[in-house]
């Protein structure tokens, strides 16, 4: 089984609520899901949709065709009718849409009337619609009723009862009025799966890694990190601060990090543009910081709610002066969780800024995993604290060492002072002007650290046929769709994927010789959601390897599996 459900309507009609609730019911039932969203930068009106794919095996991308369309407005039918499979069904309310469509593919359900009659409130249209979807899929209502009880616990027994009635009304209506039920729902094992989205997994990874401080200014698609952390602030002992601007956000995080706690900030391209001076400050003062950078299409305000991979080169070169940095670009929520954790470790170990470079698509996608698949990186406290600091004689914040890593002490824990400076400084942290100290400091904070930092970068993931003729190369959020394209094309051709999620510095080709794999492939295609191929340029600059085949998309939308396969077919004549 492998079905796709799309919920379409205006902003404010509860599309996301319907989508996320269905995902919860499916995941609780043991189905694997993948969902993504498409919405406009407005709070009411316009056209938005939420797309869910469900299957009884792990999945990682959306398909082009849909089996069930829940249309809360007429526009949803006009825009998506052509995506329907032959057995597909459109659930709509002719009075809400103000038109009637006949035919086997249409089921007119009085969402609003049922909501008013059984849910006692128009707002329960979402609940009626969910009941209707579960009905057409032939599922039971038990799990959904439990979700209703949990969701409305604080609103009281009456609200729970009304919602359960609304769900049952939608469910029964479908059973009474639909003649055929083409969907066969078979679950491999009746075991609840863990559902998690990209943005939540970044926040969860931060919490699992000892993040104690998060300061940010709201900006799509990063705001969800702040929301998730704020929800856990009291129980986890985390300070979440909405800063007056992004400049303050990064400087606050650096202040907190200097004071001895693991600190993080998050933003998108426009906000990060304001943070670049602070990034440079982190570089000069060697203050650990984790920065979650969510890409959306630019330049300037661009397409605020859409997706793109357009800020890689910006991150590689952001901040004045030369200093080391690390960039991770997770492709799945599991990778986002693990890499956020690794970011905290590497940032503190080497006293550098580390980025989680994600995008709107990954942020908004929901996935399911087996419990236990989410694993965090090792936790080690690298700071000089308490008695250990007290016993360190002649403490110098920027002590010259063989490794280039100086002791990172917590101010106030011992009688020695901790001095940091944005000017070039001596070992004690006081500003200097002399050339010899300058050279020694550059050696220390840049060159000596860099070779060790590079040794921590994991190799790219190779997936598919060995020595594949067609090789899909990508980074970040294209992981899932590339992997499914490989699975689908594997029976007909020799194809594989090479995916990078630790992208800067690039992995070395000694431990895993990906350069030879690239050179030996007949058709290596570099796939990026940007206009100019930023990653392919980075590979060329760092390794000399030149891509000749590219797939670039920059309309702000992610690839479905079929769309990507179509693009790949376009290149096959060149093999």
């Amino acid at each position: 089984m492998d079905y796709t459900i799309k919920i379409g309507g205006e902003a404010g009609q509860g599309i996301q609520t319907i989508g996320e609730t269905l995902v919860t019911v499916f995941a609780d039932s043991g189905f694997h899901i993948f969902s993504h969203q498409d919405y406009e930068s407005r709070v009411r009106g316009g056209h938005n949709f939420y797309q869910i794919r469900l299957a009884n095996k792990p999945i990682s991308a959306s398909r082009s065709k849909i089996d069930i369309l829940v249309a809360l407005d007429r526009e949803s039918i006009h825009s998506h009718e052509h995506e329907l499979t032959s057995h597909g069904t459109i659930l709509y309310d002719s009075s809400m849409c103000k038109f009637i469509r006949e035919g086997n593919n249409f089921l007119d359900i009085p969402f609003e009337d049922l909501a008013l009659e059984h849910g006692k409130d128009k707002i329960t249209v979402s609940t009626v619609a969910i009941g209707a979807v579960l009905g057409i899929l032939g599922m039971e209502l038990d799990l959904y009723n439990k979700v209703i009880s949990d969701t409305f616990q604080e609103r009281g027994a009456l609200v729970i009862e009304e919602n359960k009635n609304a769900a049952l009304a939608g469910y029964k209506y479908v059973k009474q009025h639909k003649k055929e039920f083409p969907f066969v729902m078979t679950v491999k094992e009746e075991k609840k799966l863990l559902q998690i989205g990209g943005i939540e997994s970044i926040a969860a990874g931060a919490l699992a890694s000892g993040c104690k401080f998060y300061s940010a200014y709201p900006m799509t698609p990063s705001t969800g990190i702040m929301n998730h952390l704020a929800a856990k602030a009291v129980e986890s002992g985390v300070v979440v601060e909405q800063a007056e601007d992004e400049i303050a956000a990064i400087n606050m995080a650096l202040g907190a990090s200097y004071a001895g706690v693991r600190a993080m900030t998050g933003t998108s391209g426009g906000g990060f543009a304001l943070m670049t001076e602070g990034l440079s400050l982190a570089g000069m003062t060697e203050t650990p910081i984790v920065i979650a950078m969510g890409q959306r299409p630019g330049p300037a305000t661009g397409l605020p709610t859409r997706t793109e991979q357009g800020d890689l080169e910006f991150l590689v070169s952001a901040g004045h002066g030369e200093f080391p940095r690390v960039i991770y670009a997770p492709g799945t929520p599991c990778q986002a969780y693990y890499l956020t954790s690794k970011a905290f470790d590497i940032a503190e170990k080497y006293q550098i800024p580390v980025f989680i470079l994600f995008d709107t698509y990954l942020a908004d996608s929901l996935w399911t995993f087996e419990p236990g698949e989410l694993k965090h990186h090792q936790y080690h406290d690298y700071r000089l604290r308490g008695d250990v600091f007290k016993n360190q004689q002649d403490y110098k914040r920027y002590l010259f060492t063989d490794s280039g890593i100086s002791p990172l002490a917590v101010p106030g824990d011992a009688s020695q002072v901790v001095v940091v400076d944005s000017d070039e400084h001596d070992e004690e942290g006081h500003l200097v002007e002399d050339g010899a100290t300058r050279v020694n400091m550059v050696e220390k904070r840049l060159f000596k650290k860099l070779s060790q930092i590079k040794s921590e970068v994991a190799s790219p993931e190779y997936y598919g046929a060995p020595e594949a003729q067609v090789l899909l190369i990508g980074w970040g959020s294209t992981y899932g769709v590339m992997k499914e394209a490989v699975d689908q094309l594997a029976p007909s051709m020799s194809i594989a994927m090479l995916h990078f999620c630790e992208i800067y510095p690039l992995p070395d080709s000694v431990r895993f010789d990906y350069l030879s794999i690239l050179r030996e492939s007949a058709l290596p295609i570099c796939i990026e959601l940007n206009a100019t191929g930023q990653f392919s340029r980075l590979v060329r600059a760092e390794t000399g390897f030149m891509f000749e085949a590219f797939i670039h998309r920059y309309d702000g939308r992610p690839f479905t599996i079929e769309e990507l396969i179509g693009e790949i077919h376009g290149h096959l004549g060149n093999v």
Binding site: V239, A248, G255, Y258, A414, S415, V417
Partner: protein
């Protein structure tokens, strides 16, 4: 026992006769009087002549970016709210480049002490007008004179309900010391606007210019009366009041952040994987 010698730092690189020397010496006297050990206090600064001060005082120091001292200080206080934090800054750094952070810090009432060296001119970049330069002030880069209105930090502080706002003058260091001690002992954000001459670049607002104008607020003045405070904050020109212009008893930001109720963030233990 903490003595002046305890705070001996680097050799200052200021111009001879600079008002900063008086501020530095007074600050050290205050730290001695309060018996604060150097590792139990953090000085934060941005960029400018005033921002060099932490290097000349032995203590924990974060000398960051132009205008950005207050966000750094806020981060330090939230991570370790038992660590006293002083920001030493200038009129350009704090009232110009960092204006948004000043407004936010006053509104938060983060328990940071903000000592602004206000000489009404940019010293480090050699003599451009600052936000506190009076209208018409002429400079090399503004030969026609300053067109913008003069920034009034005391009026801003009162308008935003700043929990402590005082003005002092480097020509009266005993008074400056009293203001600094009052600020240090105040529970909440405390701003002291310290008038000082710039011997190299400000030929108008000289030591004599200030000496002729400044006067102490009368003993019966009530700094907790906000409306009166606002009218005194507007007083500038022939007579300039010094002293605590306004204060209140707003709760601090730190005591309202739930995660800090159980102790300093930096000393809350974390167990991996939980």
């Amino acid at each position: 026992m903490v003595t002046l010698e305890t705070f001996k730092g680097q050799e200052p690189a200021w111009c001879p006769g600079c008002g900063n020397f008086a501020i530095l010496k007074t600050l050290k006297n205050v730290l001695v009087e309060l018996q604060v050990e150097p590792h139990r206090i953090t000085l934060v600064s941005g960029i400018g002549q005033a921002a060099k001060l932490p290097h000349y005082t032995k203590c924990n120091t974060f000398n960051g970016l132009h205008g950005r001292a207050l966000p750094v200080a806020t981060g330090i206080r939230l991570a370790n709210h038992t660590m006293p934090v002083i920001v030493t800054t200038g009129d350009g750094d704090c009232y110009g480049e960092g204006g948004n952070h000043l407004m936010a810090a006053i509104r938060r009432n983060i328990n940071v002490k903000l000592f602004v060296h206000n000489n009404q001119i940019y010293g480090l970049t050699k003599g451009q007008p600052s936000p506190t330069s009076s209208e018409g002030t002429k400079a090399k880069n503004m030969p026609g004179g300053v067109l913008s209105g003069q920034f009034n930090p005391m009026a801003l502080a009162v308008a935003l309900d700043c929990s402590f706002a005082a003005r002092a003058f480097t020509g009266d260091t005993e008074h400056l010391k009293t203001m600094m001690i009052e600020a240090m002992n105040h529970k909440g954000f405390a701003l002291i606007d310290i008038l000082q001459p710039c011997v190299s670049f400000n030929k108008v607002n000289t030591f004599q210019w200030y000496s002729k104008r400044v006067y102490h607020l009368e003993p019966e003045y009530d700094p907790e009366d906000r409306l009166t405070a606002f009218s005194r904050a507007l007083e500038w020109g022939d007579r300039i009041p010094i002293g605590i212009i306004y204060k209140n008893k707003r709760p601090t930001y730190e005591e309202r952040v739930p995660a800090l109720a159980v102790g300093e963030l930096v000393h809350q233990c974390f167990k991996a994987g939980c």
